[in-house]
């Protein structure tokens, strides 16, 4: 079974480090980006199954990133991890970004965050299984196998 990759995006370095510690030795590969642009660059070179992004970031917001991800890589499951919980932003994210989960900062237990990520991976797998039958299109075929 191929190891799945999860991309975490947050402009706050300490958040990424915290997450890195949490996902250490978990059954998926975690990669990190400190901006939307960096995230898109990573996506070009790696196959990613789940994107977990912050909302409030300079230059490119989480929402802008999610829109682009949805357009370019619709199979990637999208999760929001944000302390910014204003209803309007939240609704826009859900409606326009078609996100799988919205996790608020701070999360209560590290396991909660892991379980959301695991659920997202599982959701992606199921979607992948259904998609070829429905559309016949290859899923993420152009993306090289994960590495490094």
């Amino acid at each position: 079974m191929n190891e799945k990759t999860v991309l975490f995006v947050d402009d706050e370095d300490r958040i990424l480090k915290t997450i890195e510690r949490i996902v250490h030795r978990k059954p998926f590969k975690a990669i990190f980006a400190e901006s939307g642009a960096a995230a898109l660059k990573l996506l070009e070179s790696q196959e990613v199954h789940v994107v977990v992004t912050d909302m409030r970031m300079p230059e490119m917001t989480g929402l802008q990133l999610l829109r682009e991800v949805k357009d370019k890589y619709p199979h990637i499951v999208r999760v929001v991890l944000s302390g910014y919980t204003q209803i309007t932003t939240l609704l826009t994210a859900i409606n326009e970004g078609e996100i799988f989960r919205y996790v608020t900062k701070p999360w209560e237990k590290n396991e909660d965050l892991i379980s959301v990520v695991m659920a997202a991976l599982e959701h992606g797998e199921k979607a992948q299984a259904v998609q070829p039958v429905a559309s016949g299109a290859p899923s993420g075929g152009a993306i090289p196998p994960s590495g490094g």
Partner: protein, 672 residues
């Protein structure tokens, strides 16, 4: 004798002038008669007037005479010479047939008048039966009169003098003369010739003196007539001015006597009663108005009369379905001695002015109300904005805290895991060293001893015991920060849309208690008895504001009490029919009865200036009643605390009609 005739002529000519004036000015015969009758001389000297054309066989009619009994009667009736038994002749009265007066036949004035009128004027001699003690005397007195005819009215104007009167005057002068003679006699002892000379001289003197007195008499008479004429003219002018004034006044004017009978009124007053002036004069209020109204008017008249002072007021009546207002002025009419002899009433229609004033007042009231509403709305907006800003700020802070809290919390969890692993590892080391030391190898014992030293000096045993507490305490601190942030977010509800959403009132109470914790902590113990109530459609952020407002007010009231123990606040929630109800009861000082109706009014505050806006409870009222269609009330007994109760409909805000109904209900209550 000619002097007497001259005097009589002067009097008659003056009277004739008066008659002529009245005729030319068209002032009427009656007024003229009155004027002539007023020319009083003395009982025996007077002006009389005969209506010449009215001779019905008993002579002309007397129309002016000082003896009122004679006026209107034919002269023949008044002076019945047939009854005359005696005749006055040169100081003596002789019976008819006496030789001294043989040949004298009393002449009747009636026949003499006719003769003179034909020639315009002249002197007449006749006999007159003088009235003594109300009865015509039996003595016929010779009399001389000067007569002048006024053809336009066919009046004979006369003035006469009795012969006996003239004789008496002469006798008086003779007596004086005699006294003078006697005096002269004693002084001069003069001879008869001298006496004759003196007598003749005195005779001349008498004649002069007599004439001088008559001239003076005439002069005073003329002056008196002149004055009378001027006064009559003045009086007439004043009367005309008065009448013009009263008639043209826009007010209704009536003058009444002490019995409330109309003495005088103007046409406006009469018209208002649908009568003529003549129909009103002499009538009392009882004749002119319904009994109840008349009694009321009489009572007010009497107040004016008894208190002897002017009364002014407004009379409101409904006439033909129209509300009217009359300004009434009643003033006593006083005599020179300040006695009240009547009452003058002036009525002025004030309806239009009153209505204008009322309209103005209503417009002013509307303006004031609009101004008040504007100020209220402005203050309301400022306060609401302030609250919203505070909420946004709180929410903003909460969000800012969230990010660092995310890695603090996350890392602390990881740290706990790491510590657990390290502790486990340490235990494993311990175990292995103990086992090694137990082998008894000296090298091992030395290492064990060094390890123990290091362990002791680094206080590892204590750290192992304390590290868990350290992590627990940190966790507790983080939990509290998270709780505060959650309450801040929950309270401001900035996370939620502004529209109504299904929310739990109990959760709102809990989050608000978290926010108000600092305010309440050292003042009151809060007990919650939160019942099993359904979620309701509401704007939770606003409902929380209401709860916070009531809680903070309660805490402040308790703090003002200067009490030693803590206050108590009990919050209960329960379901009552289709409402969820929340009661917040404190054991503070309570609210005075007079403030209970005003407590929800805008700007009502009992706090010192600058400390309270007086809007907190007003906005609470607005939120609960207007925006949620609920109820908010307060009960309180002074010294026993206060209980605020609000109820929110489980199925949301009722329709607009019901809302308006509640608006009125509240306004009524406020008025009560």
């Amino acid at each position: 004798m000619s002097h007497i005739v001259d005097t009589l002529r002067t009097r008659v000519d003056s009277a004739w002038d008066i008659v002529n004036h009245y005729y030319r000015e068209d002032l009427g015969q009656e007024a003229c008669k009155k004027a002539l009758a007023n020319i009083g001389l003395n009982r025996d000297d007077y002006i009389y007037v005969e209506q010449v054309d009215s001779d019905g066989g008993e002579g002309p009619i007397i129309i002016v005479h000082p003896d009122k009994g004679f006026v209107g009667r034919p002269t023949g009736q008044v002076v019945d010479l047939d009854r005359v038994q005696e005749i006055y002749y040169h100081g003596q009265v002789y019976p008819l047939g006496h030789p001294t007066i043989a040949g004298i036949r009393p002449t009747h004035i009636a026949t003499e008048i006719k003769k003179v009128c034909a020639q315009g004027s002249g002197v007449i001699h006749y006999y007159w039966a003088r009235v003594v003690d109300g009865k015509p005397s039996q003595v016929g007195y010779p009399k001389v009169s000067y007569l002048r005819y006024f053809p336009e009215w066919k009046w004979a104007i006369g003035c006469g003098a009795y012969a006996d009167h003239i004789d008496a005057l002469v006798a008086d002068q003779m007596e004086i003369a005699r006294a003078n003679i006697h005096q002269i006699w004693r002084v001069f002892f003069s001879s008869t010739a001298v006496i004759c000379v003196v007598l003749s001289m005195i005779s001349i003197g008498i004649s002069h003196k007599y004439s001088a007195r008559l001239i003076q008499y005439e002069k005073s008479l003329l002056d008196s007539q002149d004055r009378l004429r001027r006064e009559a003219e003045k009086s007439q002018r004043a009367e005309r001015i008065f009448e013009t004034l009263i008639t043209n006044l826009p007010q209704k004017v009536v003058l009444k006597d002490l019995n409330s009978k109309v003495i005088y009124c103007n046409e406006k007053y009469a018209e208002s009663l649908n009568r003529t002036i003549e129909q009103v004069i002499g009538k009392s209020d009882s004749d002119l108005y319904p009994r109840i109204v008349a009694n009321k008017y009489k009572a007010s008249d009497w107040t004016v009369i008894v208190e002897n002072k002017t009364m002014e007021g407004f009379l409101r009546r409904r006439i033909h379905g129209q509300d009217t207002v009359t300004r009434v002025l009643k003033t006593p009419v006083r005599t020179k001695g300040d006695h009240v002899e009547g009452i003058l009433c002036i009525f002025e229609d004030f309806t239009e002015r009153y209505q204008n004033e009322e309209r103005l007042q209503a417009a002013n009231a509307r303006l004031e109300e609009a101004n008040r509403q504007l100020r209220e709305a402005q203050a309301f907006l400022i306060q609401s904005e302030k609250m919203a800003s505070i909420g946004q700020l709180a929410a903003g802070i909460a969000h800012e805290i969230n990010n660092p809290m995310a890695y603090v919390v996350g890392n602390s969890h990881t740290l706990r895991d790491y510590v657990a692993n390290l502790t486990e590892m340490l235990k494993a080391y311990d175990q292995h060293f103990k086992e090694l030391a137990a082998t008894g190898a000296p090298q091992c014992q030395e290492h064990a001893s060094r390890i123990q030293e290091a362990r002791d000096s680094l206080d590892i045993d204590h750290i192992c015991v304390d590290i868990q507490g350290l992590l627990d305490d940190s966790q507790e601190g983080m939990d509290r920060v998270l709780h505060i942030v959650r309450n801040l977010r929950s309270f401001s509800r900035i996370d939620q849309a502004e529209h109504m959403a299904m929310s739990s009132l109990n959760e709102g109470i809990q989050s608000t208690l978290g926010i108000a914790h600092n305010e309440l902590a050292h003042r009151a113990q809060v007990t919650t008895e939160l019942g099993d109530i359904p979620d309701i459609p509401c704007n939770a952020g606003e409902i929380n504001q209401v709860i916070l407002n009531i809680l903070v007010n309660a805490a402040q009231a308790i703090a003002e009490q200067d009490r030693e123990d803590m206050g108590h606040i009990v919050i209960r929630t329960f379901q009552d029919g289709d409402h969820v109800v929340c009661t917040i009861a404190d054991d503070g000082p309570g609210i005075p009865q007079e403030n209970l109706t005003k407590i929800f009014d805008p700007f009502f505050t009992t706090k010192p200036v600058g400390q309270g806006t007086g809007l907190g409870l007003h906005i609470s009222y607005d939120i609960i009643v207007r925006q949620h269609g609920g109820r908010l009330s307060v009960e309180s007994e002074l010294g026993k605390g206060a209980t605020f109760t609000f109820a929110l409909p489980i199925h949301g805000k009722p329709s607009t009609d019901a809302e308006q109904g509640q608006e009125h209900e509240r306004e009524d209550c406020a008025v009560c």
